[in-house]
């Protein structure tokens, strides 16, 4: 039955990957990649149980954290076109 859950998660990841390749806007792709990442966390957890060694859960936890940070960073980049300076006008005022 772990095999059934693993197969279902793999099918979901394939569907998300198709949407990431098709996606008309960049936000569709980011949404699909975010879903792909959360399904990867689930896949790592279920795969640990499938092989009888549930030690991969630490990796799954770290992957969840990294996935969230990566999505927020990519969105900030697309929203402001920059990662460091969200308010360029204020920075210019401080400098003078």
């Amino acid at each position: 039955m772990f095999v059934a859950a693993t197969t279902a998660i793999l099918v979901t990841m394939a569907l998300a990957l198709i949407r990431a390749l098709l996606g008309p806007t960049v936000y569709d792709r980011v949404l699909a990649v975010n879903m792909f990442g959360t399904k990867t966390v689930l896949l790592i957890a279920v795969f640990g149980f499938l092989t009888g060694r549930p030690d991969f859960l630490d990796i799954a936890l770290a992957y969840a954290l990294i996935n969230f940070i990566a999505i927020i960073a990519v969105l900030k980049f697309f929203e402001y076109g920059d990662l460091g300076q969200s308010r360029p006008s204020r920075a210019r005022r401080d400098r003078t």
């Binding site: 039955m1 772990f2 059934a4 859950a5 197969t7 279902a8 998660i9 099918v11 979901t12 990841m13 394939a14 569907l15 998300a16 198709i18 949407r19 098709l22 806007t25 960049v26 936000y27 569709d28 980011v30 949404l31 699909a32 975010n34 879903m35 959360t38 399904k39 966390v41 689930l42 957890a45 279920v46 149980f49 549930p54 859960l57 630490d58 799954a60 936890l61 969840a64 954290l65 969230f68 999505i71 927020i72 969105l75 697309f78 929203e79």
Partner: protein
């Protein structure tokens, strides 16, 4: 007896979680615009991930593994709405309009 019941319950949770995952994936492919695709992604993040992780918790019993699974579930339930909110805000600022009527009418 109780062990068999917990085992059966965990299988039901795992299979139902996988089903909701596939349903969310199909929705992500077939919904017409970005803001309805958020809905499909939300189904996999809450019901799909929640049921699969609850099924794994029932398999693991009371141990450190269950605590880690609870942490993964709690973190997912916090981050998924945050990421979706940021994505919707960025999409609105990026001039993506919601689809307000069916295509062709």
């Amino acid at each position: 007896m109780t062990m068999a019941a917990i085992d059966a319950l965990s299988w039901v949770c795992l299979v139902t979680g996988g089903f909701f995952g596939i349903v969310g994936g199909i929705g992500l492919l077939r919904f017409p615009d970005l803001f309805s695709r958020f809905h499909a992604a939300g189904v996999t993040d809450t019901l799909g991930a929640g049921l699969v992780l609850i099924g794994l918790m029932l398999q693991a019993g009371w141990s450190l593994i269950t605590i880690k699974l609870v942490l993964i579930l709690a973190f997912g339930l916090f981050t998924s709405p945050t990421a979706t909110h940021a994505l919707a805000k960025a999409a609105l600022r990026g001039k993506v309009k919601p689809l307000l009527r069916r295509k062709g009418t």
